[in-house]
């Protein structure tokens, strides 16, 4: 299984029946393939869907029906369409139980940076800032380090924040890490990865529980 799919598969296990979830651009969109029970999880898409289904099959695309990343989408029975105002009222009003977002950096206190690299990448904010700040729970899905090997889980974000102290959990290609009041806590390891590997690739200090850690 490709690492992105492994992250998505592991992330899907955090979803509880009855929850309203939002899947950010990138790895989070892959979660759609691993939803525990499609009848019991309602996917919100900020461009105006509550009850989004999987991507449209080839040849079955509707030009008026896309997801927030511009891919052609589908809906499940009981879905509703609405405008941007209503969509973000759902988000800022606190009705998203669980948002899965990508990251450029996550700090040990849960600060998230994922929207800008000044002078380099300036795609804009989109819906991420509101999702990060107002969802009841935010889980970050990301590679553990950048393409050049720099840690993404850091003591303090050097990049401008998307939202402060918003991340509850980080799922990477190497580990599952919980953000707690005491700091970052290593909870699970990917197959073939050691505690030492993860600690070495993480700038922020990690609390490592005694005993064997679960694998995913």
């Amino acid at each position: 299984m490709h690492y992105k799919h492994r992250i998505a598969w592991r992330a899907a296990r955090e979803i509880k029946a009855g929850q309203i979830i939002n899947l950010g651009i990138g790895i989070p969109t892959l979660i759609m393939d691993y939803l525990p029970d499609r009848q019991q999880v309602f996917v919100h898409s900020e461009n105006g869907i509550w009850g989004m289904g999987p991507r449209a099959a080839a040849g079955r695309e509707d030009p008026d029906l896309i997801d927030a990343g511009a891919a052609y989408a589908t809906i499940v029975p009981g879905a509703a369409f609405f405008d941007t105002l209503t969509s973000f009222a759902i988000i800022r009003g606190g009705r998203i139980d669980l948002a899965f977002l990508g990251a450029l950096q996550v700090a040990q206190n849960g600060d998230l940076a994922n929207w800008i690299i000044p002078g380099q990448m300036t795609p804009g904010i989109g819906g991420g800032m509101e999702l990060a700040q107002k969802s009841r729970k935010v889980i970050v899905l990301t590679t553990h380090v950048t393409k050049t090997g720099a840690p993404k889980i850091v003591k303090s974000c050097s990049l401008p924040l998307t939202a402060p102290a918003c991340v509850a959990m980080i799922i990477t290609d190497r580990a599952v890490i919980e953000v707690s009041d005491a700091g970052l806590c290593l909870k699970e390891l990917a197959e073939g990865v050691s505690v030492a590997d993860v600690v070495a690739a993480t700038e922020a200090p990690l609390l490592v529980p005694e005993g064997e850690l679960p694998r995913f």
């Binding site: 029946a17 309602f42 009850g51 029975p77 369409f81 759902i90 009705r95």
Partner: protein
């Protein structure tokens, strides 16, 4: 979102505590959740702060709670059609706070949309007992109207599906969509609950994401029928 949103009126309203702030849909009778209000009366909930466009009319809507002394405070836009409420106000037994109708709706919407409030130039000339916070933006003066949320919203919809998607009809929408966004617990009464998928997703007026509990009601003629005194005589 719980796995089933369908409750009896008693189950749906049981957790509404004394002293709660309750948003109540309706403009006059259309869109008023009469059955849920009768449940509040029956279960004895008291010291309520109600938010409704108007005070309803004697014997109807929120007036049944006002008349029973269950309402400490009413936040509304006008109370002209309810002399009982006006009398209680003059006796000092009912606090009434009034706002321009559209501003009341905007305060509630701001609460629902996760905003802190809105800026308005309506009523800037008024001296009220509420000291206004004024700001200047782009050279113009505005009053800050803080967002308003409820502990509970009581909503009347024409139709719902099992997911909680709502459809309103005619002039019975009024404050219902705004209020259904702006409470921690959103209880909806409706005359019809259809299966998921039976409502065209483009015809949903309020997505089920906002709705916690659905109550199927029989619409009695007394509470939901034509009021003869507002009809033309044959």
């Amino acid at each position: 979102m719980s796995s089933s949103k369908i409750f009896s009126a008693a189950e749906a309203c049981r957790s509404i505590a004394d002293g709660a702030t309750v948003l109540v849909g309706g403009f006059g009778q259309p869109g008023t959740p009469n059955r849920l209000l009768r449940q509040l009366l029956a279960q004895g909930t008291k010291q309520l702060t109600l938010v409704k466009n108007d005070a309803s009319e004697p014997g109807l809507g929120i007036s049944i709670l006002i008349e029973a002394g269950r309402v400490a405070k009413l936040i509304a836009s006008h109370v002209g059609l309810n002399p009982l409420a006006v009398a209680l106000m003059h006796e000092g037994r009912l606090a009434i706070e009034v706002y321009p109708q559209g501003i009341l709706a905007e305060k509630i919407r701001a609460g629902g949309a996760g905003l802190g409030g809105i800026l308005t130039d309506i009523g800037l000339h008024l001296d009220t007992d509420r000291p206004a916070q004024l700001v200047e933006v782009a050279g113009a003066r505005y009053k800050i109207e803080p967002a308003l949320r409820g502990d509970v919203a009581l909503i009347h919809a024409a139709r719902a599906d099992t997911m909680g998607n709502l459809v309103f009809t005619k002039t019975a929408g009024n404050f219902n969509p705004a209020m259904a966004m702006a409470a921690d617990l959103v209880i909806v009464e409706t005359g019809e609950i259809v299966p998921a998928g039976a409502i065209d997703p483009d015809h949903v007026h309020l997505p089920g994401a906002f709705v916690d509990r659905l109550v199927l009601v029989e619409k009695s003629a007394a509470d939901y029928g034509v009021l003869k005194h507002h009809a033309l005589q044959a």
